[in-house]
């Protein structure tokens, strides 16, 4: 029980400190910007540890973070191999192909009103196919290895990027378009010089959402058949073996990799859409 109360006290203290820090004039500093979310995370972990130990939750239901950490440090080669298989081969390649295809489709759809009226509804439809349904089919088509995982990722990221890009391409102001009209700018010139820059805030929305979807897609697709490596394989296998510490170790790797991936895209966004009010206001 003391574990539980300790954790709760820690939580309250950390929250107060965070609120103070975020409100303070140091809030803009790099250290603080790193420290605040880190402390929040540590708080979550302490709460978790406290609850698991305090309430005596069995390790086969939910292992404490300390046990997970031990597993991580003890199984680095396995985790690394899984990471390469699932994230580098499956998720990343699928992400690049899927986002690229969605982006090009959006531009193509936008180019032709005919396609826009014809393809968009059908595109919505195709892209709304649930992953659990397509994964087995794609595994059947593309084989067990990472290619089928990449294909699942392609299908998963396609829709968010498509929808956001189409919305973004429509997000120009009248005067901005009129200006291009007075130059008699060609379609492509208008696209590259006006509509794509103006669409970027939307496009990055899609790209950000797609980062996490790519990870989920690659991992989940492995549930439906895989070689005997990969994060999804490990997770599904180890759940059956009740090795939940290993399951959570994989999840931790996924979370760290996913956050890093997201952070990368967010940093790119910041560089590309520096002019947008949502970025300009914040230093």
């Amino acid at each position: 029980m003391s574990w539980l109360w300790g954790a709760i006290l820690f939580w309250l203290g950390a929250w107060a400190l965070n609120a103070r820090l975020a409100g303070s004039r140091f809030a803009g500093r790099k250290v603080v910007r790193f420290f605040v979310p880190a402390l929040f995370g540590v708080t979550l972990l302490v709460l978790w540890e406290g609850i698991v130990r305090g309430l005596g939750v069995p390790g086969v239901i939910l292992p404490p973070p300390s046990a997970i950490w031990e597993t991580i440090t003890g199984a680095v080669p396995v985790l690394w191999g899984d990471f390469v298989q699932t994230i580098v081969k499956g998720a990343l390649s699928g992400y690049v192909i899927g986002c690229g295809a969605a982006f090009l489709t959006a531009v193509a759809i936008d180019r032709s009103p005919f396609l826009q009226r014809g393809l968009l509804p059908v595109g919505n439809f195709v892209a709304a196919l649930p992953i659990v349904g397509i994964a087995p089919i794609l595994v059947m088509w593309f084989g067990f290895d990472w290619q089928s995982k990449a294909a699942v990722v392609v299908v998963m990221v396609f829709f968010p990027v498509l929808v956001n890009t189409v919305a973004g391409l429509a997000a120009t102001e009248r005067m901005q378009r009129d200006l291009m009209a007075t130059y008699s700018a060609s379609y492509w010139q208008t696209l590259f010089k006006l509509r794509l820059p103006a669409a970027m805030p939307f496009v990055f929305n899609g790209l950000k959402i797609a980062t996490t979807l790519a990870l989920i897609g690659a991992i989940v697709a492995e549930f439906f058949g895989s070689p005997i490596r990969g994060m999804g394989f490990r997770i599904s296998t180890e759940v059956g073996r009740l090795a939940l510490d290993m399951v959570w170790a994989e999840i931790a790797v996924a979370a760290v990799a996913g956050s890093a991936f997201y952070g990368l895209v967010a940093a790119t966004e910041k560089a590309v859409t520096f002019w947008h009010p949502s970025q300009r206001g914040r230093k």
Partner: protein
């Protein structure tokens, strides 16, 4: 209905491609079977066979349509073989999950935009939460909920909400921050509080972002509900149909369930698109 013709044209093209793919993907099996039986088959026989296999790699459109029609209209809607029945089970969890997820997403986004502490601490963890493969923890979630007596719709809806809140957060944070400096300054001169700024400026300005997010998130809700159905005993719902079809290699059943799910998702997206158009028109933003 100006859009009927384009849709039909696109559909026609897809169906044609699909038939071609059906022949191509299924022919291997036909040839293998012929080889096992030791007979020669002509190309015409191959085509005929590939379009009517029981366990095709890719079922032909008419097979899927048949399966779909049988599932939708061929059964009493209360029957366990009816896709309407399973679709409804999934839809109800989807809608509840979508409502929870959207509400939560908007609340989080508002918190993030208005409160620095939340901005700095919550966002990174919201992101991390989405990298957890839900299908992996869904069984545990279901087990935990079941142990406190929650079963049926709610655990599924929660998994669905978990998948759907994130697109809303990302889109709304951006949307709520999209008003430009002058628009914000105007309210400052009125000394408008956070609540007024939200209501009168940030929310209306975020509408285009919100709707783009909602479309993504409703599709995610559906996926969540289906994923949630698998570990819940996979007894009813489109997820269960997909899974059992998959388990027994009944490709046609999978595709029929898949299409039912996609029709559902497309319908939901279209409804949101309709609301979007209406709202934007009322706001004078429609073009």
């Amino acid at each position: 209905m100006r859009s009927v013709l384009p849709i039909l044209a696109v559909l026609g093209a897809i169906v044609a491609l699909w038939y071609a793919a059906t022949v191509w993907l299924n022919s291997q099996w036909t040839y293998d079977q012929a080889a096992r039986a030791g007979v020669e088959v002509s190309f015409g026989e191959v085509v005929a066979d590939t379009l009517n296999q029981d366990r095709p790699v890719l079922p032909a459109p008419h097979q899927v349509a048949e399966g779909l029609w049988d599932g939708l209209a061929g059964q009493k809607v209360t029957s366990k073989r009816s896709l309407v029945y399973h679709g409804w089970v999934t839809l109800s969890a989807t809608l509840v999950g979508f409502a929870i997820g959207t509400g939560l997403g908007i609340l989080l986004a508002v918190g993030i935009v208005h409160n620095r502490a939340m901005d700095m601490s919550v966002m990174p963890w919201a992101i991390a939460s989405q990298t957890i493969p839900i299908l992996a923890i869904a069984p545990m979630v279901i087990v935990v909920f079941a142990s406190v007596g929650l079963t049926g719709l709610i655990p599924k809806a929660i998994i669905s909400a978990y998948l759907s809140f994130f697109p809303v957060v990302v889109g709304m944070v951006k949307g709520l921050r999209s008003p430009d400096a002058m628009q914000l300054d105007l309210l400052k001169t009125y000394n408008a509080g956070g609540w007024d700024t939200l209501r009168k400026l940030r929310l209306p300005a975020s509408m285009p972002y919100l709707f783009a997010s909602l479309k993504v998130s409703v599709a995610a809700s559906l996926v969540g509900a289906i994923v949630g159905e698998l570990p819940a005993g996979a007894t009813s719902g489109l997820g269960a149909r997909l899974l059992s079809g998959s388990y027994y290699g009944q490709t046609i059943q999978i595709w029929a369930a898949l299409f039912a799910a996609a029709i559902l998702a497309a319908g939901l997206v279209m409804i949101i698109g309709g609301i979007e158009r209406g709202t934007l028109r009322r706001m004078g933003m429609a073009r």
